[in-house]
């Protein structure tokens, strides 16, 4: 791992009504590192990532980005820091077409920057999807008519094409087929090489061993384990996730 972390989250707390989702989380992420974030259902993984991507503002805690203390008030600020996210709920606009979803917020324009260059947008979208190996009936179909896996592919393609510094992927492969999963893993390896930091949330533990440098385990809103991948075996990881490793740590 390099010198200063790209991101350091410190003592992040957040609660919704009576439910304390995060109870003081510290997390560090280094440049070019792939961090696996795992934990039970409801452990708070998605919530933590939503804090990092500006969707939720935490009740307390601080974030340091490349050495500078920052606060992320909204998703736009996260984007400006080049933090891109594939959300678990995908965050697509159902009635917009595939290309519009892919380029939402940074549509190519022409005509004095006034009009969307639709031709270019659809061509780029097709290119981008082809490059990622995603098969979609048409870039003109509304995403509401796509299959579960197709929708997820669109969300992934969107995050990747932004050329992020930090790429957060919240269960990106949940609905994907065998080949598509492969494609995503290869993709992670590829972007890692270019210095991108990746946070991968997944319940497919075998994937973690393939791409991760380090694994952090979240349990009921707290980090209970954080080790390099080589210090884990499949069994010790499972034990850690289910909260039975506390003594071993």
């Amino acid at each position: 791992m390099n010198d200063i972390p790209r991101i350091a989250m410190k003592d992040i707390k957040i609660s919704f009504g009576s439910i304390q989702s995060l109870r003081g989380v510290n997390l560090e992420l280094y440049p070019g590192e792939v961090l696996g974030l795992v934990g039970d259902n409801g452990a708070g993984k998605s919530t933590l990532m939503k804090v990092l991507s500006g969707v939720h503002v935490p009740d307390s805690g601080s974030i340091v980005f490349e050495g500078n203390p920052i606060t992320i008030h909204n998703p736009l600020e996260a984007k400006k820091l080049q933090i891109e996210t594939v959300f678990q709920d995908l965050a697509l606009c159902d009635t917009l077409d595939v290309a519009s979803n892919l380029f939402l917020g940074r549509e190519p324009v022409h005509f004095f920057h006034r009009l969307i260059d639709k031709k270019k947008m659809h061509a780029l979208a097709k290119e981008e999807l082809d490059r990622l190996g995603v098969v979609i009936p048409s870039t003109y179909s509304a995403v509401e008519n796509l299959s579960g896996g197709q929708r997820q592919s669109v969300a992934i393609a969107r995050a990747v094409t932004y050329q992020p510094k930090v790429l957060i992927m919240d269960e990106p492969t949940a609905a994907l087929g065998v080949k598509e999963v492969r494609m995503v893993l290869n993709l992670i390896k590829k972007v890692k090489e270019t210095g991108v930091s990746v946070i991968l949330i997944t319940h497919r533990l075998q994937d973690l061993f393939e791409v991760c440098d380090r694994i952090t385990v979240l349990y009921e809103g707290k980090i209970i384990d954080n080790r390099l991948i080589k210090d884990f075996t499949m069994d010790s990881l499972i034990n850690s996730i289910t909260g039975e490793v506390k003594e071993a740590k």
């Binding site: 969707v55 736009l76 009635t95 519009s100 939402l104 490059r131 190996g133 009936p137 003109y140 494609m183």
Partner: protein, 341 residues
Amino acid sequence: MTQADGTMKTEKKPFKPERITSAKTTQWLSNNKQLIGIFSVLILLSVFFSFSTSSFFTTGNMLNLLQQLAPNLIVVVIMTLVITTSGIDLSVGSILSLASALIAVLLSARWDSFFAFVFVLIVGAAVGLLNGYIISYLRIPPFIVTLASMIYVEGCALLITGGYSISISGSSWLMSLGGGELFTIPVSAIIAILIIIIGWIILTQTRFGTYIIGIGANEESVRRAGVNIKKIKLFTYMFSGMIAAFAGIIIATRLGSGSSNVGTGFEMDVIAAVVLGGTSLFGGIGTMLGSVIGVFLIGIINNGLTLMNVSPYIIQIIQGAVLLFAVIVNTYFFGRNKKRN
């Protein structure tokens, strides 16, 4: 878990190519089924009225209709945008009244036409801005916000007119907005057509329009994409107020008088046209062309039945029935999603 790294996928499946080609036209057709439906109904009704009454399909009546519908056509454009964001603006009718009253008062007070015109637009925009601010920054449902505006704006109109109608005189360029003609075509109709085209471009060809649709479909997703959704909603409602004020000026100059109740019920006419045209009140789906056809449909029903000399005691019954018939034909025969039962 061995196989394929994605990039070679498309070539590997040659045996069903038509599934992958980007079927743009078919897509358009299936997206716009409803539009075709309502357009057919419009044609149907027009043909019916043409046969029932000789005065319907005359240039005179058509131009007349255009002029009558111009204010609705103008406001329907912005209302389509508002409703596509899954919002609503109930205050357009009152703003229209206020604008008509205000322009009359200002002109009576010998304001310069241009300044009066601009001032009224600014007042409309200000009301819209307040609506937009409360809706987007304080996150209060548009229905209740614009309903409250509707009430207080109507009150303002009442206050400045004292309940009377105030006559507008002078024959400046301002008057020609409502009553003027250009090569026999009403000026207001020309303006309406321009605004419709601009509205269509905004909705379908600009980022602003894409975000409007996106906000209607899933506001949170657009926000997560880093778009300032508050600003977009703010502007939409601001424009709504401004355009309603513009329509008010047109009506006032056409009637030669401003009054506090010209806009009564106007918002419902416009919203009905939007919904009839196929824009969803739940947002995310908006069709400018549909709304325009919706305005014409409602207008033609009124115009045609009047020309047919239907008794005033039953005209409403027939209007309601024809409207119902129109939507049933439209949705049922050109319906979407036949797969569900």
